[in-house]
């Protein structure tokens, strides 16, 4: 039947034509007038009611200073959604984006997803070295390209239940890992085939007890100078994994701990295991202070830097750093207006200090760190010190984002449980070497 054949030919033509339509929309130049009335969309990841209130207050203060710029804020946006929206572009894409993880800075800078901020910084005469601590500058750029700025900082430390410490007869927070292991064992109270109190949850699925957070205490180096994975070559990783496995064994074994972990409440909710007393010590970020107070925790909360390996005892005080990053998508049509918001939120000392106080994060500018308005809580000050410690470190950026961390984490899971879907895992060195290979292959695929 002729009609049918013609239809078939037409569809083939459409298909071929459509295949050719791919390509990206070219990024518009920042040509908008920031003094005209405009509405910009700001995506962020905060969702806890107190945090949302804090950022909205911050935005209100900005709008008061810039009455012509209206900000539409959307919260609870995680990185997947950000990447997706930026890929799609179009009128629904945001003008300012903030993200909790520094992982994707590599992707965002390398593929021009975020605009280069250098012209904006120059235009506003912002001197980076005078504004931000060095570590924060490091994790917001990739291979020389600056496409994000730090928006508040996170420092990780040791939280401990002072009441539990007293009951167990521990007088001071542990400074080295052997002191830590001993304390954890002392604080663990077995009940039946579970626990009534666990000293510390070392399992890698235990919220913030992750490979990267632990590895920071050894100042481990993830990549060689030419970008190859360094996990097997740097003895720090093997040491970290062995330490963790020993701790797991001494506290009751992987299976028993996993079962206990399954009974933990939501990490971000009121029933966080540290709040409820299910664990006596926890590795967590500075936000935990505020959250614990809000949850009405009854015991005395102690804060200290997380213990360091015995052979690095003089570097006590360091910790893992991370932070929220903020940038301007290159597809935005309102980049100049967006820059005003970014500049305000990242460099205006009052804004940084009040926001930091409100959500109990570490401020990200040198001026803010010295500000007398900053929360004077001594526990909070501990985190400020950790943030400024010269040996505090973060995880490096990479072209495929956090993929290398996922691969390392995958191996760590296999190692801690002793099992892998392809057989038993007992050899750390061989496992790390295999992990290196996988990371390198993934990076090659991403290039």
């Amino acid at each position: 039947m002729p009609g049918f054949n013609r239809a078939l030919l037409a569809t083939a033509a459409v298909a071929l034509l459509a295949t050719a339509c791919t390509g990206t929309s070219s990024a518009p130049q920042a040509s908008d007038d920031a003094t005209k009335d405009v509405t910009i969309t700001f995506w962020h990841g905060w969702s806890a009611p107190s945090e949302v209130a804090a950022i909205n207050a911050n935005i209100k203060a900005f709008e008061a200073k810039h009455p012509n710029i209206h900000v539409k804020a959307v919260g609870n946006i995680n990185d997947d959604k950000i990447k997706q929206a930026l890929r799609a572009g179009g009128p629904n894409a945001p003008d300012v984006v903030s993200s909790f993880t520094t992982d994707n800075v590599g992707t965002f800078c390398a593929s021009n997803v975020f605009s280069d901020l250098k012209p904006f910084l120059d235009k506003s005469s912002v001197d980076l070295d005078k504004t931000f601590p060095k570590a924060l500058q490091d994790y917001t750029q990739f291979e020389g390209k600056r496409c994000t700025l730090p928006l508040l900082n996170d420092a990780y430390g040791l939280y401990y239940n002072k009441d539990a410490f007293k009951a167990a007869g521990i007088t001071a927070p542990p400074k080295t890992l052997s002191e830590f292991d001993a304390a954890a064992k002392l604080l663990t109270k077995v009940k039946g085939d579970s626990f009534s109190q666990l000293g510390f949850m070392p399992n890698f699925h235990g919220y913030e007890s992750t490979t990267t957070h632990f590895a920071a205490q050894w100042n481990a180096t993830y990549f060689t100078a030419d970008g190859k994975s360094n996990l097997a070559a740097d003895p720090a990783f093997a040491k970290m994994l062995t330490w963790q496995k020993n701790l797991v064994g001494s506290l009751g074994g992987f299976a028993k701990l996993e079962k206990y972990r399954a009974s933990f409440g939501d990490e971000w909710g009121a029933k966080n295991p540290f709040h409820t007393g299910q664990v006596a010590m926890a590795l967590d970020g500075e936000w935990r202070l505020g959250m614990a107070k809000e949850a009405g925790v009854k015991f005395d909360i102690g804060v200290a830097p997380f213990p360091v390996p015995d052979d690095q005892a003089d570097s006590y005080g360091k910790g893992y750093l991370s932070g929220t990053i903020i940038g301007i998508p290159s597809t935005s049509q309102k980049q100049n207006a967006a820059w005003e918001l970014v500049k305000y939120m990242t460099t205006d000392t009052d804004a940084v200090v009040s926001f930091a106080n409100a959500i109990h994060n570490v401020p990200s500018t040198l001026d803010a760190l010295k500000s007398p308005e900053l929360d004077a809580d001594p526990s909070f000050r501990t985190f400020l010190e950790i943030a400024q410690h010269p040996k505090s470190s973060t995880t490096p950026a990479s072209p495929n984002g956090g993929a290398y961390q996922l691969t390392l984490q995958d191996f760590a899971f296999a190692y801690e449980s002793g099992a892998h879907e392809s057989g038993k895992v007992t050899d750390v060195a061989a496992g790390l070497a295999r992990t290196d290979q996988q990371i390198d292959k993934d990076l090659a695929q991403a290039k």
Binding site: T24, S111, E208, A262, Q445
Partner: protein
């Protein structure tokens, strides 16, 4: 199929103009009726399929323009991507174990419901209801029920004194737990088996029992042959559904691992330990989390090939499907 009319020689070229008009009208009519499908199949099936093949040879992250990389993506997926082969193995496990158990259980429940005399309607409703539960809701319910620490199931097992498996948190038990979830939603299979069991002619049973056949023999020689097309249908649709198995393993893994997003954890596909990975999840992982469009398209094509193999098998065995009564 238009029949070629046998026109006496000498008149072959002259076709009745009325007939030509009729044929043209028919052609237009066919086109009109079929047009939604024609557009649909070309825009939403053929075009993306060709695109997928095209992109499997390109490097495209969605931001910069695509570049040709030849077989690099294929080589990466088949040799370097650590999640690919576990996902294939899982699919095989699911096809062999989950589909089989579903068919057997569905047949069993269908049989049971035909034998129930009192309260048949009530039982039927109870058995069918779980099938209606939205997959996300059902999976979350089961993730809660099977929580190794606080779930009711382990609670009851503990009281009886039986060992309590880790269910969705234990790589050895996660797929059996998913299978239990699948058996819970057996309602659709129950109904079609029930209908087909009731369709078996009663006389055949009576004839068999007159010949001295016991219950098992009656089942084997009367019931099974009569319902075998339905069994085949259940198996094939079960396999097709397994190819597409996405929501339940993904939600189960997410909920069981406690990873919500925003914490220090990376999202781990196939928690625990890659045991719940399926190919569709990999398409999402590579395509929408890693932004490796090329790799995602390779996996999509593997998925397509597997689905087509089973479709071909269906065509061969169940050609009754295409019944052309006219």
């Amino acid at each position: 199929m238009t029949s070629t009319a046998t026109i006496p020689t000498g008149r072959r070229r002259t076709i009745d103009p009325g007939l030509r008009r009729k044929r043209r009208r028919e052609a237009l009519r066919n086109l009109a009726f079929l047009s939604p499908w024609l557009i649909g199949v070309s825009v939403f099936f053929l075009y993306p399929l060709i695109s997928t093949v095209y992109f499997s040879f390109m490097r495209y992250d969605g931001f910069t323009a695509p570049t040709w990389t030849g077989l690099k993506n294929w080589q990466y997926v088949f040799t370097d991507y650590p999640f690919f082969w576990p996902a294939l193995r899982n699919t095989l496990w699911l096809v062999v174990v989950m589909v089989t158990l579903r068919v057997i259980f569905g047949l069993g429940i269908g049989l049971l419901i035909t034998k129930v005399k009192t309260g048949a309607g009530l039982f039927r409703t109870a058995f069918y209801l779980p099938y209606l539960a939205p997959p996300v809701a059902a999976t979350m319910a089961f993730a809660f029920l099977l929580n190794p620490g606080t779930g009711p199931v382990n609670n009851i097992l503990a009281r009886i004194g039986l060992p309590q498996p880790g269910w969705f948190n234990d790589p050895a038990w996660s797929k059996p737990a998913l299978t239990m979830l699948a058996l819970w939603g057996i309602g659709d299979l129950m109904v079609i088996f029930m209908a087909s069991l009731l369709d078996v002619p009663q006389e055949q049973y009576e004839a068999a029992s007159l010949d001295g056949a016991g219950p098992w023999q009656r089942f084997r020689y009367v019931t099974l042959p009569n319902i075998s097309p339905i069994v085949l249908f259940a198996v094939v649709t079960g396999v097709i559904q397994t190819m597409q198995y996405y929501t339940q393993p993904l939600v189960a893994g997410k909920v069981a691992s406690g990873v919500i997003g925003g914490s220090g954890q990376q999202f781990e596909p196939g928690y625990p330990d890659k045991s719940t990975l399926t190919l569709p999840q990999l398409v999402y992982h590579l395509g929408f989390q890693r932004f490796d469009t090329g790799g995602a398209c390779v996996i999509a094509l593997v998925l397509f090939a597997l689905a087509m193999v089973f479709t071909a098998l269906l065509m061969r065995r169940g050609s009754g499907f295409l019944a052309t009564n006219d």
